[in-house]
């Protein structure tokens, strides 16, 4: 753990946590779409063909999974930017 102590004052702390929370909510909203909504509608989506797959099937076996991987890397990239903005980098 790094030794550089960055003290945020309460106002900064609120802004930092507000940004972190908003990012988390956006990610969880997208997660809800791919993890819950799309599988729920897999039946109707199957009438659409995608790269030779029925779309509903494709999304549950691959599409949503790819979305999760992308989401998590994007979330970390955005979160790192937020941390940097408030000077909260750590020494590795």
């Amino acid at each position: 753990m790094s030794g550089n102590e960055v003290k945020l004052n309460p106002e900064q702390m609120d802004r930092y946590w507000g940004k972190t929370r908003n990012l988390t909510f956006v990610i969880l909203f997208l997660w809800f779409i791919f993890a819950i909504l799309i599988p729920w509608f897999a039946g109707p989506l199957n009438s659409v063909s995608f790269m030779g797959f029925p779309l509903g099937f494709y999304m549950t076996v691959q599409g949503s999974l790819i979305a999760f991987v992308v989401l998590i890397f994007v979330q970390n990239w955005r979160q790192d930017r937020i941390d940097d903005e408030f000077g909260l980098q750590e020494e590795e």
Binding site: W31, I36, L65, I66, V69, I72, Q89
Partner: protein, 603 residues
């Protein structure tokens, strides 16, 4: 020792590079031996024995007597390697051996496992891992005990952890026993103890540090073992080297063949074996969508509350690297999970499509019964072919399989050389061993750190603590093997239960501990008790023939448990005083990635 300290971390890429090259060379050597006429059995034994010997060697090289190394691998595991270790920790016998078979037979309804076991990592990354890492705890109950305060909260967390992880570990020891029994030709009851011995060799001497470095090695074996047969099959069926984006035609072909053969139930059912009755693609039956979503939610919330996964993120150097390693974990896990449905599809096509030489449906029964793989697997009662309509031709509803064998039997079904079967056996062994190690360590660490050191004897010396931890590891492992040898449950069912136990008792106390400052001790205890008791009671109710509410069967009891947990935690918290200033400050500090950890090392 010198190999592992400092020196080792600087050369880690080279060490695992050489290891991977060595393993590939070993596969080639086995292939050559097979061509020279060495018996298939010998090759199977060599595969399993060689890989276990390597893991044991890593375990021995990583031995330690330091608390920080034993519990959290000294908190110096680089993000990418922690990602691999987590992936191995995560992908158990259920993922490796049972999941593709589940999809083969269950279609849409089983794909919920695929979505649940990957989507859960978004919850881990968003809600849990970075904050628990900042906390600086050794175990999950350590977090609960410190954030909410008091031994009762800590004890409840230990109880839920033990219930969930122990259910899970018996399934894994069962899986190691199954693989060892088949590969080494020993009885299942002996195979279980043999498997346990391998598991303990990896974890006993070096705790988390040893488990980390063996899990990385096990990940490499299991991912190679899973991908090779699929790539091979895909290539021979004309879908190219990477089937994932091109097997759409195979899916369509299966839908056509399903219509042609008809998905009829068997004329006479056989215990423990299944015929194919579910379409591969479409949701069918009452509540199909609801069942998918509820199973996926239980698996996702369970992912985010299973202690053996969360504790892997305690081993990284920083909060940022903890997040990074969650992302790597998901990527490494994704490689297997998006392959599993491809494997199920291609294997089904091998059996069904009359234009492929390996197809058996529609062939004369005698011809099918003469096939080697049919004979081998029917001898152990995991497969049956019965001409129930007496027309001398094998119909789709006359081929009975145990779902668990689909992955293990695929190389033989597809007519691949035996060396691939040996490789798959080694992969299944690696998957089950690595998960069992993580689980045993989670249980033993919670009991030694939280129950023994924090509650019973806070003055215990370091050496005593680590000896207690090791004795517990052996005792719990032995108990697990004993129960596994009784074969009470199937692999996939037991694993789903573990996830439901974990999310019933721990999900909301963990999430709200970080995300709701107002959450207090009384609320957390109420949440853990109510969730765990309601979930367990509901499981008992449906398992003993009670009518499920809204189709929530025994695989989904976490929905009931989580609801009870959330409601009681919120209500009780609001009825009791807010936590004091110090706890509120602690929550603030948890949310900021830098600065000193809440708990000092050697706490």
């Amino acid at each position: 020792m010198a190999l592992i300290k400092g020196n080792f971390l600087d050369n880690i890429g080279r060490v695992y590079g050489i290891y991977t090259g060595g393993f590939l060379a070993f596969i080639v050597l086995m292939a050559i031996l097979e061509q020279l006429g060495v018996a298939a059995d010998t090759i199977g034994i060599l595969f399993v024995a060689f890989t276990i010997a390597i893991y044991a060697l890593i375990g021995w090289l990583s031995r330690t007597m330091e608390v920080d190394a034993y519990y959290v691998a000294g908190r110096q595991v680089p993000a990418v390697y922690n990602g691999m270790a987590t992936a191995a920790d995560w992908m158990s016998g259920a993922s490796f051996v049972a999941m593709a078979g589940g999809i083969y037979f269950g279609g849409y309804s089983y794909i919920a496992f695929v979505v649940g076991w990957t989507g859960g990592y978004i919850l881990v990354n968003s809600l849990m891992a970075p904050y628990l890492r900042k906390f600086g705890c050794y175990t999950v109950p350590d977090y609960i005990g410190t954030r909410f305060g008091g031994n009762l909260a800590r004890l409840m967390a230990v109880i839920v952890l033990v219930a969930a992880s122990f259910t899970y570990v018996t399934a894994q020891i069962n899986a190691t026993g199954t693989v060892a029994a088949r590969a080494l030709h020993i009885p299942f009851e002996v195979g279980v103890w043999f498997g346990l011995l391998g598991i303990l060799l990896c974890s006993m001497l070096g705790g988390m540090r040893a488990v980390t470095w063996t899990q990385v090695a096990q990940y490499i074996v299991l991912i190679i073992a899973y991908l090779v047969p699929v790539i091979w099959m895909s290539n021979s069926q004309g879908f190219g080297i990477i089937p994932h984006f091109s097997y759409g035609e195979a899916v369509q072909r299966i839908t056509e063949l399903e219509a042609e053969y008809g998905l009829l139930p068997a004329a006479e059912a056989m215990a423990g074996l299944s015929v194919l009755t579910t379409p591969a693609v479409a949701p069918v039956g009452d509540y199909a969508e609801w069942k998918f979503v509820t199973l996926a939610i239980c698996m996702m919330a369970g992912t985010a509350s299973l202690p053996h996964i969360l504790m892997r993120y305690f081993t990284t150097p920083t909060v940022r690297s903890a997040r990074k390693s969650v992302a790597w974990s998901l990527l490494f896990i994704f490689l297997l999970y998006f392959t599993a449905p491809a494997l199920a599809t291609l294997t089904k096509l091998q059996l069904l499509d009359p234009t492929l030489p390996t197809a058996i449906i529609g062939k004369p029964i005698e011809e099918v019964l003469a096939l080697d793989w049919i004979r081998n697997w029917s001898q152990v009662d995991m497969l049956a072919v019965a001409d129930q309509n007496g027309d001398g031709i094998l119909q789709l509803n006359e081929l009975f399989l145990r779902p668990d064998i689909v992955v293990l039997a695929t190389p033989e079904i597809a007519g691949l050389p035996y060396v691939i079967s040996g490789l798959v056996a080694a992969g299944g062994m690696a998957a089950a061993m690595s998960t069992a190690d993580g689980l045993l360590l989670a249980i033993a660490n919670a009991l030694s750190h939280d129950l023994y050191y924090k509650i019973i004897d806070p003055k215990a010396e370091t050496a005593t603590r680590l000896i207690v931890a090791r004795i517990l590891l052996v005792v719990i492992g032995a108990l697990g093997a004993l129960i596994a040898s009784l074969q009470l449950t199937g692999i996939l069912g037991a694993v789903a239960w573990a996830f439901c136990f974990a999310c019933s008792g721990l999900f909301f106390p963990l999430v709200l501990g970080v995300w709701w400052k107002r959450a207090n001790r009384e609320g957390a205890i109420a949440g853990m008790v109510a969730g765990f008791v309601a979930g367990t009671a509901y499981l008992y109710y449906v398992y003993n023939g009670g009518t499920p509410w809204f189709g929530l069967d025994h695989l989904r009891f976490g929905i009931v448990g989580m609801t009870a947990s959330l409601v009681s935690m919120v209500v009780v918290t609001l009825l009791t005083p807010a936590p004091d200033e110090e706890i509120q400050k602690m929550v603030d500090a948890t949310r900021v990635p830098t600065g000193p950890a809440i708990l000092s090392s050697n706490h």
